[in-house]
Amino acid sequence: MEGAFSYAPAIAAFPLAAFVVALTFGKWMPRKGAIAGIAATAGSLLFSLWMLAAVASGEVYHETLYEWTAGEAAGEVGDGIEFTFGILIDPLSALMLVIVSLVAFLVHIFSLGYMNAEGETGLPRYYAGLGLFTFSMLAFVYADNLLMAFMFFELVGLCSYLLIGFWFRTRSAPSAAKKAFLVTRFGDYFFLIGVVAIAATFGTVAFAGDDSFVAAAETAIADGDTLFGFDAQTWVTITGLLVLGGVLGKSAQFPFHTWLPDAMEGPTTVSALIHAATMVAAGVYLVARMFGYYALSPTALAIIAFVGGFTALFAATMGVVKDDIKQVLAYSTISQYGYMMLGLGVGGYVAGVFHLMNHAFFKALLFLGAGAVIILMHHEQDMWKMGGLKEKAPVTYYTFLAGALALAGIIPFSGFWSKDEILYDALIVGLNEPVIMAAYAMGLVAVFFTGFYTFRMVFLTFHGEPRSEAAEDPHPVGWAVKVPLLTLGVLALVAGVANLAPVAKILGVDIVFLEHWLDGEYGAVEGLTYSAYGELLAYETGVIGSEQLTILVAAGLSLLLAFSGAGLAWKLYNVPEPVAHKERLGSARRTIENNYYQDEYQVWLARGFTLPLSRAADRFDQTVIDGSVNGISTASLFGSSWVKRLQTGIVTNYAALIVAGFIALLVFLGVYGGWF
């Protein structure tokens, strides 16, 4: 594996090249830039796999490639700060690189069937957007410092904006794009402040190594330093929470989740790549990347866990009443990212990353499956107009079903293993911490809703009798649609093998590959391993009876709830002519259908609070600031209009003035110089 890492920059450079090619020559290319994108992402995938193999052979890569700028000023702790671009490839980023490039590759192939075959216009723009996104996401993943991560974090946000607004001639897409941009930007604002705070405090923004901000924070806490008037631990919590603002925005966590359902206005392939599998994962990935930092602050972790658990339940309940297949998936995405946050928040680093990986696969699968359904249905997204697609599109059905089973957390699909591990980790911590217990309880209840809405979607879409002409005579799908679905379908089924923690603990066999992987069994940067994080965590864990019993109880509970949710959906919707059962929700129905009025209150915040505030600020600017500036210039104009009369144009007057001035000067010097 000698020298494998020197090719690491190419992973991100390939999609960047594809972006340039698609943008400049896309119009004249046979597939409007698709081939370039596919080739580039295939290259990225191969190189990422190579990196994975290199890390597996026990090597890691942490190299600064370019020094952007360096300062002399010392921070509160440490000295001269450097802003650099560098690459950090350790088990976590190598794994994420593979996930991102794999999903990007499959989505590019799927786009051939979804975009090209449908005769869309503006395809070069579409492929350029995908290329730029893939580039920024990959660069974000292997960024070795917080500032570089922030830059690419922003860049993926920009790509998301561009791609959501792909159909910019419609009314809704540009508005959704703007909303996504603004809401995530609001979170990123805090992220930026956090980056500045961390840089100013520790004089470094590096993720790894002895001079990382994580190590600096650890030292500061150990030494009992006071940072900016706060106790070191409090300051770590504050900066951690500021960075968390960006995470919540990007990963669509409460209260910044409102943009994600609207983002479904973009092409379904974009939803699969960006708003399900990768970009939304950026937030969670960032928490995992700087997990050592959060591990120092129990408060921040508890907040992460609680917000995660709450979002998991909150979004799942909203997903229950949606009629649009993509909306259901959007809410399930929010909910699933809630699980990951819960997992990370309770210190389940492996569980969180495991779910991140599994979710990337099965949610990309579900979105691509939904894309296939949309092709089948001649661009109809309302599930009440579908039905009976099971026999007509078996490949789509069975792959979608695999994704649905994984999403609902049905054993033995991948989603079960990771979600169960998250809930188990939350439970053992929750036994000692009431806040975590509440988060766990919400996560557990969300399992029921997840099972319900997932199978409601499956039954409405594929089972029963066709409920529209399009459903009776579906449009056929080609190989470009089926290949990605099959690949991801297999992954959704088997990806759980990576970490069969419950089985391992009960049977006592060593089959927790992902845990070993993230623990640096193969190779890792020092301090960025699961066990290193474990030492930093302040959580006490408890068990019910024995460890085995706890595992069985946790798994049994979540399986039971998943099955009962799915069973309820089966009973209600797996009938030839399903009808809506929303009126049974009673008074809660309106609230849930309106998404708990989240959009309304945010619009109110914008209109009722921000707008008047900015108007007042504008008025202050126009009157007080501008007024004083104008006043000064008016006074000086008026004054000079009088003083200028001194200049008469008559030489004699000037001479008289000079003489008078000279005499005055003499008198002055005489009086003060002591001549008299």
Binding site: Q647, T648, A655
Partner: protein
């Protein structure tokens, strides 16, 4: 018998005051120029008187330079007066007041 330096200074002061008076009161440009010459020469008297008093020649040499400068100045001044006359048919310094606000 030598004359005390204070008499030279008094002479120069008187000459300067006459020149200044001329500059401030005369309206004829030629008179104006002459008054300026008077003031210059008052300075020259001072230079020579103190050179004599201190017994070195620097002041006298300086006075020579000042006279050459005065000659040049008069040339320029007369040129201006000629142009003044050409434009205003008059050499009254209070007439041309266009160079003001």
């Amino acid at each position: 018998m030598t004359v005390g330096v204070e008499y030279y200074v008094l002479l120069s002061m008187a000459l300067f005051s006459i020149g200044l008076f001329g500059v401030l009161t005369r309206r004829n440009a030629l008179m104006f120029l002459m008054s300026v010459e008077l003031m210059l020469n008052a300075a020259n008297i001072n230079l020579i008187a103190f050179a004599f008093y201190h017994g070195n020649l620097t002041g006298q040499v300086f006075a020579l330079f000042a006279m050459a400068l005065a000659a040049a100045e008069v040339a320029v001044g007369l040129g201006i007066i000629l142009v003044l006359y050409r434009n205003f048919r008059d050499v009254d310094v209070t007439v041309p007041t266009t160079m003001r606000w």
